[in-house]
């Protein structure tokens, strides 16, 4: 019987399986951050439970850390309390914490892969929906809520209903691989399959256009799988994956044996049956810009904002949602995307704040200065990314162009720390969600790739980065 990659990973992690019951699935790695864990640790204490496998659990602080000078005391008391709570919880329960001043601190989904903690074929959970990022390594990685965080801490397992499988086949070659990025591929996919197109499914991205991508680009794709409602995103590991994992701080000592095993086992069998399939030709993809308030409300940069009727295509609810989105975004239908002026630029988040993202953005920025109406910031995904970028002199390129160069964290992706939009401010953002108020109450978010965000910062409005010189 043929099996998909997901089914192989699932089957190798079943602890208990009975008909008409959820399966008890073993969890190989549990990543923890300050926001979704406090009640889980409280629950352990109340019930006198210990953490079952502290050595498989790793914590960091990313969501509400300030991205400004960290030698200064934190002004926000509730954030400070939440951070101190995680520090105490990790100490009490024997969990490794990459704390606020640790050289390995960073966004949880950036540091997992960077440290060699994220491994092919494994099951990975975190109380964070963008855990799907790590599926780029051929891991079943998915977000959970706080009750499940507590369950994982206590048992290293979870009761799960088996998701269905969904093949996303990406064919062809990007016409301009610098300007048309993996962010544009995933936004194009979500535009087509919708924000709930993947509900109940694990997406497996396959095809030459996926193999063609670097590991960091693959992470951007898997990261946004959740924006299509899916349980997780998955890419079969290959030589690029194995090379990425080699010689990292926590790469297992039996790496060579593991690679043999991964090579032999971690792929969907030929003729595997997927529950659903979708094919996209990447040759036709242009740089994408979101204009609405969910990640399916996206247009080509050369296009106009659609009318609600064009967008909704006879679906009353969709037409109404487009009207509401345009009102919130303060945009008129049929405006050219390239005529939308912007106030802020955010290059950051678990979607697009890894080293390659910053290198690409810096290529656009080098020797130029941002538009006088724009304020822009770069928030590296981790301290390690920041350090490597500084070794390449990227910080200087950004600062010379009047970008702010910040410390690592989730920052303006979700507006939990002081990095927020003011009401009515319009932002070109490399993050993952353009929901109402996501980056600050009344803030207007346009999702774009790092090169598109960088070019918009210089021009003061969106530009087709394929024409950039």
């Amino acid at each position: 019987m043929t099996e998909t990659l997901f089914e192989k990973i699932w089957n190798s992690h079943i602890v208990v399986e009975k008909e008409n019951e959820p399966s008890l699935i073993y969890i190989d790695r549990h990543l923890v951050h300050e926001v979704t864990s406090p009640q889980a640790f409280d629950g352990l204490r109340v019930n006198h439970r210990k953490v079952r496998r502290p050595e498989l659990t790793v914590a960091t602080i990313d969501h509400n850390v300030p991205t400004t000078d960290r030698s200064l005391p934190m002004i926000d008391e509730t954030s400070s309390t939440q951070i101190k709570t995680l520090e105490k919880n990790c100490k009490d329960f024997g969990i490794k914490l990459f704390g606020i001043n640790d050289p390995n601190q960073g966004i949880v989904h950036v540091i997992g892969p960077q440290l060699g903690i994220t491994l092919p074929g494994s099951t990975i959970v975190c109380g964070d929906s963008h855990t799907s990022t790590q599926g780029a390594f051929g891991a079943f990685a998915f977000g959970i809520g706080t009750s499940e965080v507590e369950h994982t801490l206590a048992t290293q397992t979870l009761w799960l209903e088996k998701p269905k499988t969904f093949e996303i086949l990406a064919t062809g070659k990007r016409k301009n691989p610098f300007a048309v990025t993996s962010k544009d591929i995933i936004l194009s996919i979500i535009k087509k399959i919708g924000t709930n197109g993947g509900t109940g499914h694990v997406l497996e991205y396959r095809g030459d256009a996926i193999s063609d991508l670097s590991m960091e680009q693959r992470m951007t794709i898997c990261n946004m799988s959740i924006e299509a409602g899916s349980r997780a995103g998955l890419i079969a590991p290959d030589e690029k994956t194995f090379d990425y994992i080699n010689n990292r701080e926590y790469t297992p000592k039996n790496y060579d044996d593991l690679v043999e095993d991964w090579k032999n086992n971690l792929m969907s069998d030929s003729n595997s049956k997927f529950d659903k399939r979708f094919t996209i030709d990447v040759e036709k993809i242009e740089p994408q810009v979101s204009w609405g308030t969910n990640p399916a409300m996206v247009s080509d940069v050369t296009d106009k904002i659609p009318t609600p009727e064009e967008f909704g295509q006879n679906n009353e609810i969709q037409i109404e949602s487009a009207k509401k989105a345009l009102a919130y975004m303060d945009l008129e239908p049929e405006t050219l995307i390239t005529e939308i002026p912007i106030d802020r630029v955010f290059i950051g988040s678990c979607t697009n704040a890894r080293l390659e993202d910053l290198i690409d953005a810096a290529t656009i920025v080098k020797g130029k200065v941002i538009n006088s109406n724009v304020s822009a910031m770069v928030v590296p995904g981790s301290q390690m990314v920041k350090h490597e970028a500084e070794k390449l002199g990227l910080d200087k390129i950004f600062k010379d162009a009047n970008f702010e160069w910040r410390e690592s964290g989730c920052s303006m992706c979700l507006g939990m720390n002081p990095d927020i939009l003011k009401p009515g401010e319009r932002c070109a953002s490399t993050s993952n969600r353009n929901f109402e108020g996501r980056q600050g109450s009344g803030g207007q978010t346009h999702l774009v790739s790092p090169v598109m965000a960088a070019a918009a910062a210089i021009a003061g409005h969106f530009v087709d980065v394929r024409d950039w010189s």
Partner: protein, 160 residues
Amino acid sequence: MIGNVIKYEQDNIDTDVIIPGTYLKIHDYNELATHAMEGLDPDFPSKVKDGDFIVAGKNFGCGSSREHAPIALSTCGIKAVIATSFARIFYRNSVDGAFLLPIEIDDETYQKISNSDQLEINIENNEIKNITKNETYSMKPFSEIIAKIISAGGIFKYKK
């Protein structure tokens, strides 16, 4: 279970409007509840009554994994969210902590239910009775697994 409907006629009500990110630092559930639905309907905490139901369209609760979302609604008194579909993590979070019932209905039923209608939900026979309109609708039955977790009162009580 009897309650009144607060209806939002839209799809994709995301966790960022249910409880904006800035409030995820709050540890106290009662304080959290004062910000429930703030991104969509700032009057929600003042108008919601204990026992009420939210009715909405597709993909309710999409976005973040924050369990704060069902917690905030439940602490306000919401006993069920009735929607044409749910985002998976929100659905699971609602059930895991036994915060509220995520009930799926079809489009036709969704159209028939109006704001302020009084409903009686009967999960034993998968029925929703609209007391105001004297109509009866069917709801999508919970899967066996979910039904077991709900009747146990959450994931920790299940299989204990």
